[in-house]
C-alpha cells in the first residue's frame, strides 16, 4: 500500500506535522485479552456492588429488576455498532425503535411530542429551562429547592453566562415546594420535580396553574420514571415540557451513567425542542418508513442559531427503555409502580414506629422518604453497612440543614423479609443509643 503511494515509510505520511511538536512515546502497557480480563476483574473486586448488599439507595438512580430478554436484545451488535441513522434506508431498525420510544414516552408523559432522548435527567432539565426562556423571552427562571441537587447544579452551570435570574423556591414543612414564594413579575418557567428529591408528591396542578397565570411555562421533572406508572400523567396536570431521568427503565445503575434524558413537550413548542426527532415517512414505493425530521432546528444546519448544541442522543438507552416498557407492558409497568409505592410505605410505617425516629415530611410520597434520626446519620449508616445494608443517602451532603436526615428508597426488588430486617436493625441501633 505504501509503495503505491510512492512512499517507503509510514513516517512520510506524517511529514506535515512539525518536528518540534512530535509526541513522546506513551508509557502505556499493552495487555493480552486474558491479562486485560484479569486486570479488570481485579479492579472490579475492589468494588462492592449492589448484589452484595440490601441497598436502599435512590436519589436519582434506582435499582429495578431488568428482564433478561432486554439484555439480549439491547446487546445485539446491529443496534450497538451502528451510528446516528444518517442513511435512513439502512437504519430502519434504529429509526423505528426510536419512533416507538417517542410514542411510549408521549403516552407515559401525556405529551404531544418527545425527542429521541438526551444525556440524562440533569442536562434535560437544563435544556428545558433554556427552551422555556427562548419561547417566552423572560429572564427569570424559577425552580424548587427540592429539585434533585445535581439537576440544580447543572441548571446553574448551563445558565451562568446567559444573563438569567435563577430563583429557588424553598420547601414547606410538609416537604412540598412553597408555591407562594413564586415571584410576581415576569417569570419564564417553574420547574417542579415530582416526586421531588425528598420523595414527596408536589402540588403539581397548583404549580402549573400558578405559573400559567403569570404567563410562564410549567416544566415537570422526575428522576424516578416508575412513578409515571401510578401518578397522573404530567400532561394531564398542565405540563408544557417534561424533562426527566429514564434510568429506571431497564438501565443498570452504572455508577450513575449512562442514563437516559427523557424530553417531551406540547405540539406548539415542537420546533423549539432540542435534540433529534424521528418521523414516520414513506419510501418511493409507498412503504412505511422512518426518518429524522425537523433537522432545520439542529446544529449541523443552524450552527450558532441552533436550538441546542446536542447532536447525538442516548439511542441505546432509549432502546433499553422501549424494550423494558414492551416487556413490562401496560399491566406489568403499572404493577411494578404500585409495588414500589406499597413496599416503600410499608417500610416507612415500620421505621416511623421506632421510638425517636420519624418521617421528616408529612406530604405523601411515592417510593422514597426522608427519615429523621435521633443521632448522627453516619453512625446508623455504618451500623447498617456492617450488616450489609446500604441504608440511604445522608442528606446533609446536599442540604446542610438536614443534619439528621437520610433519604430511604424502596423498589419492587425488596422482599418483605428484607424490609422487616431493615426495620429490626434500625430498632436495634436505636436501642443501643444513649
Amino acid at each position: 500500500m505504501l509503495a503505491s503511494l510512492g512512499m517507503s515509510s509510514v513516517e512520510e505520511l506524517f511529514s506535515d506535522i512539525p518536528r518540534e511538536a512530535r509526541s513522546p512515546a506513551f508509557q502505556i502497557p499493552r495487555l493480552s485479552e486474558p491479562e486485560l480480563e484479569a486486570h479488570l476483574l481485579s479492579l472490579g473486586k475492589k468494588n462492592r456492588d449492589l448484589s452484595q448488599f440490601q441497598s436502599f439507595l435512590g436519589g436519582g438512580i434506582y435499582q429495578h429488576f431488568i428482564p433478561h430478554a432486554l439484555e439480549h436484545l439491547a446487546g445485539r451488535a446491529e443496534f450497538y455498532t451502528a451510528y446516528t441513522p444518517y442513511q435512513a434506508e439502512v437504519s430502519q431498525g434504529t429509526l423505528q425503535a426510536i419512533f416507538e420510544y417517542q410514542t411510549a414516552i408521549c403516552r407515559l408523559t401525556g405529551m404531544d411530542v418527545a425527542n429521541a432522548s438526551m444525556y440524562d435527567g440533569a442536562s434535560a432539565v437544563a435544556e428545558a429551562a433554556l427552551m422555556a426562556q427562548a419561547i417566552g423571552g423572560k429572564r427569570t427562571l424559577t425552580f424548587s429547592s427540592a429539585l434533585h441537587p445535581q439537576y440544580k447544579r447543572t441548571l446553574r452551570t448551563y445558565a451562568q453566562h446567559l444573563n438569567l435570574d435563577l430563583v429557588e423556591l424553598p420547601w414547606r414543612e410538609n416537604g412540598e415546594t412553597d408555591l407562594e414564594a413564586l415571584p410576581r413579575g415576569d417569570v419564564s418557567c417553574l420547574i417542579l420535580q415530582n416526586p421531588n428529591y425528598f420523595g414527596v408528591l408536589e402540588p403539581v396542578k397548583m404549580g402549573a396553574d400558578l405559573i400559567h397565570e403569570r404567563g410562564g411555562l410549567f416544566i415537570y421533572s422526575f428522576s424516578e420514571a416508575l412513578s409515571l406508572g401510578m401518578l397522573p400523567s404530567p400532561g394531564s396536570l398542565g405540563a408544557d415540557i417534561v424533562a426527566g431521568e429514564g434510568q429506571s427503565l431497564g438501565i443498570p445503575p452504572s455508577l450513575g451513567g449512562p442514563g437516559l434524558g427523557i424530553f417531551a413537550t406540547k405540539e406548539q413548542f415542537m420546533r423549539r425542542m432540542p435534540g433529534r426527532i424521528i418521523g414516520e415517512a414513506r419510501d418511493s414505493e409507498g412503504k412505511r418508513a422512518f426518518v429524522m425530521v425537523l433537522q432545520t432546528r439542529e446544529q449541523h444546519i443552524r450552527r450558532e442559531k441552533a436550538t441546542s448544541n446536542i447532536c447525538s442522543n442516548q439511542a441505546l438507552c432509549a432502546l433499553r427503555a422501549l424494550i423494558y416498557l414492551s416487556l413490562m407492558g401496560e399491566k406489568g409497568f403499572r404493577t411494578v409502580a404500585q409495588q414500589c409505592y406499597h413496599k416503600a410505605h410499608y417500610l416507612a410505617r415500620a421505621l416511623a414506629e421506632i421510638p425517636n425516629l420519624s418521617l421528616r415530611f408529612r406530604g405523601n410520597f411515592f417510593n422514597e422518604f426522608v427519615l429523621t434520626l435521633p443521632g448522627e446519620p453516619q453512625e446508623l449508616l455504618d451500623f447498617l453497612y456492617r450488616n450489609s445494608f446500604l441504608g440511604g443517602i445522608p442528606l446533609a451532603r446536599y442540604f446542610p440543614s438536614l443534619k439528621r436526615e437520610i433519604l430511604v428508597t424502596v423498589t419492587e426488588v425488596h422482599k418483605r423479609e428484607e424490609l422487616d430486617r431493615f426495620a429490626q436493625l434500625v430498632r436495634q441501633w436505636q436501642g443501643g443509643l444513649k
Binding site: 473486586k45 434506508e89 447544579r153 432502546l319 414492551s326 401496560e330
Partner: protein, 473 residues
C-alpha cells in the same frame, strides 16, 4: 413488515413474570393512573420484534462504515463483556467511597492515560458526548477569563468546523466569528489575525480538520491566539489521525475534548451513549466540573466536591462511566505503541483509498491526508445528480455511505474515513464501487437518482415527512 410494537398489542398479554406483592397495601390519597397505552405483548413477540428490527440496520459488525469524522472502527467484544460485569454495572453513585475503589482507580488510571495521550494535566469524565465536552471546555475558559478580570465573549471558529462548535459557543453565552480557510484547507492566517482582538476568548479548532488535513501552521496559530490573550480549544473528534505523533497539548491547546466512542472504540450505540471527557492544562484545573477523582497519600481514592472555583456540574454524577470502562480496556489492549500504530494504519488506509479514488472524483485539496479525506461530487451536477444520489447508490453496493454535504466549504462533499480496522480488500472493493457509480452517473444517472434499490426500504421522501409530521403513534 414495519408494524409497530404498539400495533402488535393484544389485551392481557405480558412479557414478564411479576412476583406477588408481599406486603399489605397502604392507602393511596391520589387517583391512581388508569391507562397509559403501553403495548401488551408476550416475551417471544418482543424478542422477535426487536430482532427483526435489528436486522434492518447496517452496522460496523456487518460492513464498511466510512462515515467521516465519526471513526466507525471495530468495537472489540471483550470490552462489552467487561463493562457489563456487575462489579461495574451494579454500582450506585451514592455508595460509600470505600465500596467503589476499583471504579475510582479505573477512572484515575484512565485519566492518567488520556493526559499522556493529549499532553494535558487533568481530565473530567462528566461530559456525555463531544458537544457536551465543547460546552464544558468553553465554560472552563470563560471561568478562567472572568477570574483574570477580562471580558471576552467572542469565539473564533473556522468555516470547516463541526456544527456543534458554533452551537456550543452560543450556549456558553459567547458570540461566534467565522475564520476562513486558506487555499491549502487550513486556517487562513491573515483572516485569523484580522479577527483577533481583546474580546476574543478562544479559538476552537479541529486538527486534523474536517477535510482530514493537518494544519501545518498550528504552532503559529497558537502563538497568535495566545499573544492576543485568547485560549485554544481542541475538538478531539479527529484524534485518530494524529494519536502518538503529535499531542494537542504540545501544539498549544489549552483545553481538549476526546470522543471515547470514536478514537477509543466504545461503540456508537445508534447515536449514544458516548463520552466526551475534557482535558485541561494546569491553569484551568481549578475550574473543572464537580467532582474530580483524587488519590490521597495512603493510596485511597476519593471524590473531591470541595472545589470553590469549579464551574459546577454538567450533568449528574460521574458521566458515562461504563463508556469509560470500554475506553480503558481498549487503551490497555493497544498499549502505547499500539495507539501509534492505530493512527499509522488509519492514515495509511485513508491515503491509500484517496489514491484509488483520485481522478474519479474531484479532490479539492491535493495533499497528504490524515485519517479521512474529502472528495467532491460537483462534476456530477452535469448529469443533474447530487451527492445524496451517490450516497444512496453506495448502499446498493453493500456499503454505508460516507458523511455527505459536509464540510460546508466543499460543494457536494463526500467525507470518507476508513479507520484502521479495515483491510486492503475492503478498501479496494469500496473504491471499485465508487468508481463504478461514477460510470453509472454518466450512462444511467437514473440508477443513482432512484437508489437505493435493494435496501429494506427504498428512497425515503424526507420532504413529505417534514411537511406532514407524524412523530408518534
Amino acid at each position: 413488515m414495519s408494524e409497530l410494537i404498539f400495533e402488535k398489542s393484544q389485551e392481557g398479554k405480558i412479557g414478564f413474570s411479576l412476583p406477588e406483592l408481599d406486603v399489605s397495601p397502604s392507602p393511596v390519597d391520589f387517583e391512581i393512573r388508569k391507562e397509559i397505552g403501553l403495548p401488551e405483548v408476550s416475551e417471544p413477540e418482543v424478542v422477535r420484534h426487536f430482532t427483526l428490527l435489528s436486522q434492518k440496520n447496517y452496522c460496523v459488525d456487518t460492513g464498511f462504515y466510512p462515515l467521516g469524522s465519526c471513526t466507525m472502527k471495530y468495537n472489540p467484544k471483550v470490552n462489552e463483556d467487561l463493562a457489563r460485569m456487575r462489579e461495574f454495572a451494579l454500582l450506585h453513585p451514592e455508595q460509600p467511597e470505600e465500596t467503589i475503589q476499583g471504579a475510582l482507580e479505573l477512572l484515575h488510571n484512565l485519566e492518567g492515560y488520556l493526559c499522556q495521550i493529549t499532553g494535558m494535566s487533568r481530565f473530567t469524565f462528566q461530559p456525555a458526548a463531544g458537544a457536551h465536552g465543547e460546552l464544558t471546555g468553553l465554560l472552563l475558559i470563560r471561568a478562567c477569563m472572568e477570574e483574570r478580570g477580562e471580558k471576552r465573549d467572542i469565539v473564533l471558529i473556522p468555516d470547516s468546523a463541526h456544527g456543534t462548535n458554533p452551537a456550543s459557543a452560543t450556549l456558553s453565552g459567547c458570540q461566534v466569528r467565522e475564520v476562513k480557510s486558506d487555499q491549502r484547507g487550513g486556517v487562513d492566517l491573515q483572516d485569523l489575525k484580522s479577527k483577533l482582538s481583546s474580546r476574543v476568548m478562544a479559538l476552537m479548532l479541529t486538527n486534523p480538520n474536517t477535510l482530514g488535513l493537518f494544519d501545518e501552521n498550528i504552532l503559529e496559530i497558537a502563538r497568535l491566539v495566545h499573544e492576543a490573550g485568547g485560549l485554544l480549544y481542541y475538538d478531539g473528534a479527529n484524534l485518530n489521525g494524529i494519536c502518538g505523533y503529535v499531542r494537542p497539548g504540545d501544539t498549544g491547546f489549552d483545553v481538549v475534548h476526546l470522543n471515547l466512542h470514536k478514537t477509543f472504540s466504545a461503540p456508537h450505540g445508534g447515536g449514544g451513549p458516548g463520552a466526551g471527557p475534557v482535558g485541561v492544562k494546569e491553569n484551568l484545573v481549578p475550574y473543572l466540573p464537580l467532582p474530580t477523582v483524587e488519590r490521597d497519600p495512603e493510596g485511597k481514592f476519593y471524590l473531591d466536591w470541595e472545589r470553590p472555583k469549579s464551574i459546577g456540574m454538567m450533568r449528574s454524577f460521574l458521566g458515562n462511566f461504563l463508556v469509560a470502562v470500554k475506553a480503558y480496556a481498549y487503551i490497555l489492549t493497544m498499549g502505547g505503541e499500539g495507539l501509534k500504530r492505530m493512527t499509522e494504519d488509519a492514515v495509511l488506509n485513508a491515503n491509500y483509498l484517496l489514491h484509488l479514488l483520485k481522478g474519479h472524483y474531484e479532490l479539492p485539496y491535493e495533499r497528504i491526508c490524515k485519517h479521512e479525506f474529502v472528495l467532491s461530487t460537483r462534476p456530477l451536477k452535469e448529469y443533474n445528480l447530487k451527492v445524496t444520489d451517490v450516497a444512496k447508490r453506495l448502499l446498493d453496493y453493500g456499503f454505508h455511505a460516507p458523511t455527505i454535504a459536509f464540510p460546508l466549504i466543499v460543494e457536494g462533499a463526500l467525507m470518507i474515513e476508513p479507520t484502521e480496522t479495515e483491510n486492503r480488500q475492503t478498501l479496494e472493493a469500496f473504491a471499485r464501487a465508487l468508481i463504478q457509480i461514477e460510470e453509472e452517473a454518466k450512462h444511467s444517472p437514473e440508477l443513482l437518482r432512484e437508489a437505493p434499490h435493494n435496501t429494506p426500504v427504498r428512497r425515503i421522501d424526507e420532504v413529505a415527512a417534514n411537511r406532514n409530521l407524524i412523530l408518534k403513534k
